[in-house]
């Protein structure tokens, strides 16, 4: 009769919730990281190695750098792994992170159409190239999502003496989305876009896009990792989180990062021991 079935249904619902709760009983940490590390496939390569060694499940929530730091600030992650040195240092200074460790770098590249509409393909000076993009009004896609890549793009416009918040036209489009989405948009509209090399190398929908500008020192992109401060958020799994941080900067972790390649190209360059990184 109806009532009895209702109880069966309720019991089933309860056991479902309980069974999904069982997932979280394992040894695991949450890492807030950037879309570039996730989309490039780096985590897919290094996390199984870490798990094999320690038995710790690393759950990566990939967001823009700004959002990832916010996630750490709210205590929703145990470790933050991002690429925006100044913001990271502020994160630690504000007491949200215990200490910042440099891990690795990759570089940004300016992606643009094969047709070389702005005539900058193959040059090395990113600042000069951006000036030409602007003066030609060549279409440009900006992440516009307060990510590390977005912050780097704004720094480069600044270095070119262009106040992009004022000095923009219809050629400049902010999409407010991740790296992959920005590349998809650029691919669909043959526009220029600043990207990290890792995402670019693993990106499949390139269309007419090629690397326009690369190799400038100012395109350097440093990643840092921080344990969220257990004094701010008591529930932070400090032992497990610190184990992950320690592994990333250990010889073994650094080698794992260097070993990750797409089509024979290395994406990330470990530099945990480089002074000032």
């Amino acid at each position: 009769m109806p009532t009895r079935r209702l109880f069966i249904v309720m019991a089933a619902a309860a056991s479902l919730l309980a069974s999904s709760a069982a997932f979280s009983q394992e040894k695991s940490i949450v890492v807030a990281s950037t879309t570039s590390t996730q989309d490039s496939g780096l985590f897919g390569h290094i996390l199984p190695l870490f798990k094999k060694k320690t038995g710790i499940d690393v759950r990566v929530v990939s967001q823009g750098t700004g959002q990832a730091l916010d996630t750490g600030r709210r205590g929703d992650a145990d470790v933050v792994f991002v690429h925006a040195k100044r913001q990271e240092e502020k994160f630690v200074a504000d007491g949200f992170g215990v200490r910042r460790y440099p891990v690795m770098y990759n570089d940004f590249i300016l992606i643009g159409p094969k047709s070389n509409s702005a005539g900058i393909n193959g040059t090395k000076d990113i600042v000069a190239a951006l000036k030409i993009v602007k003066s030609n009004g060549a279409p440009f896609i900006s992440r516009g999502d307060k990510s590390g890549t977005h912050a780097a793009e704004l720094r480069l416009w600044n270095a070119a003496g262009i106040d992009i918040t004022k000095d923009r036209g219809a050629w400049y489009k902010e999409i407010g989305q991740g790296m992959g989405a920005a590349l998809n948009t650029a691919s669909a509209s043959n526009a220029y876009v600043l990207a990290d090399r890792g995402t670019w190398l693993s990106f499949k929908n390139r269309g007419e896009l090629v690397i326009a500008v690369e190799g400038d020192n100012r395109l350097f992109n440093q990643y840092g990792v921080m344990l969220v401060n257990p004094e701010k958020h008591k529930h932070v799994k400090k032992e497990l989180g610190q184990a992950f941080v320690d592994w990333l900067i250990s010889a073994e972790g650094q080698k794992a990062i260097a070993d990750y390649k797409i089509d024979g190209q290395q994406l990330f360059f470990p530099n945990a021991n480089a002074p000032g990184a």
């Binding site: 897919g44 929530v61 499949k204």
Partner: protein, 230 residues
Amino acid sequence: MPENVSALQLVLAGDPALYAIVRLSLIVSLSAVLLAALVGLPFGAWLALSRFRGREGAIVILNALMGLPPVVVGLLVFLLLSRSGPLGSWGILFTPQAMIVAQTILIAPIIAALARQTIEDLWLEYRDELQAMNVGTLGSVVTLLWDGRFSLLTALLAGFGRAAAEVGAVIIVGGNIDGFTRTMTTAIALETSKGDLPLAIGLGMILIVIVVLVNAAAWGTRRFGERMAG
């Protein structure tokens, strides 16, 4: 999932990562349907039978809530479940449970609103008989839910379809964590952002096939049940 393969190859090869994604999608969406039904069906039935000032307004609002944007629900649940939010001590943000909570909130109004309509129609038919048998409001609600169960399947299906198809809420509260909170839809979003459009489309087709299968099963149940119960 391995790189550079089509979704079809993954299905044919029985790729465990793909099956884990499909399994999680089903667990999350079906649990949400179950929980939303436990709340939505009695509430819809109660609204169908009750007469109070402002009832029309309540129905309009309930119907409007069917169109709740998943992103808004996701954000709301995110703020609730964040360690810095009121329910932070539960510690379930970025877990499947958080996704179930978000989807339950998303689809409970759909189930309640559709149930309200179904039950109200049935109530018009049954009211005289139930009153003549001195059946009270609670008993009437139980009877209407039971006798309307095959029609109510449609309401549950609408909820399931919405839950299985949405990405906005689960990606915010689940975090799209590989092997833990990655569902069909968040995987599709991820593959799209990686520019792997063929894999994204393949996953989309698998999702559509699953939704069609669930609908077919429900339709068969309904047909069978109607034949047996009249």
